[in-house]
Symmetry: C2
Amino acid sequence: MTQAANRNLAEAIDFRKNGGVVPVVAQDHFSGRVLMLAYMNRAAFEETVATGRACYFSRSRNALWRKGEESGNYQVVREIRIDCDHDTIVLSVEQRGDGVACHEGYQSCFFRMLKDGEWQTVEPRKIDPAKYGPGYGHHRKPAA
Amino acid sequence: MTQAANRNLAEAIDFRKNGGVVPVVAQDHFSGRVLMLAYMNRAAFEETVATGRACYFSRSRNALWRKGEESGNYQVVREIRIDCDHDTIVLSVEQRGDGVACHEGYQSCFFRMLKDGEWQTVEPRKIDPAKYGPGYGHHRKPAA
């Protein structure tokens, strides 16, 4: 896609409502499972469209967050949808690398469910995130 | 669930990070489709747990938003999940009423997709929201 077309797409997104970012839901392209929620600013959106890989904006680090750069757990973007109010995005992605979106080593960040009156972990951890290095995940959410 | 247990569940949610609310993804319990993204404050979460129906917090109206109160398009909550950082919720819901989550009359708020370099509406409107009354939807997002 040309740079100009990419800019026009971003124009349609209301980044102002939420301080320069919009929430982004990443959903597994095959299973439909919600993997994580993160944020994009305009630059992150434009990079995602240009590269076809999910790039978010880390609010804690105040920087672009190229998901998988450190862990290899990147996301190939298959579909991008926008909501009625133009202030939320859904990505349909193929989760690559170890198949975990969560920095704690779970397939999805949503591994805790309300059950019998408490929050319970309802699925196994797939990967020990220590494999990604000693400093991994301390400033990141989810698996960088 | 007792009031006390309900309060303990809310204690685990980090409402401070985002000004008293957390983003909430509502997903169709049967198809897995992402229907909408909204927000909950603590009271909305507690009401949702207590009643089993999705109650959000409207940031524009600064009030609890009992989804479906006006349109009949309420949501029966089947599962509640929380993410690794305790600041985002996913609801698995049965969308009742006319089966539309979006105040524009679409099944999902995410009816526009990036396609051939532009945002395209990729599915039919299911309902004309005018049926819910003349003032419907003007201050609401999505179908109240």
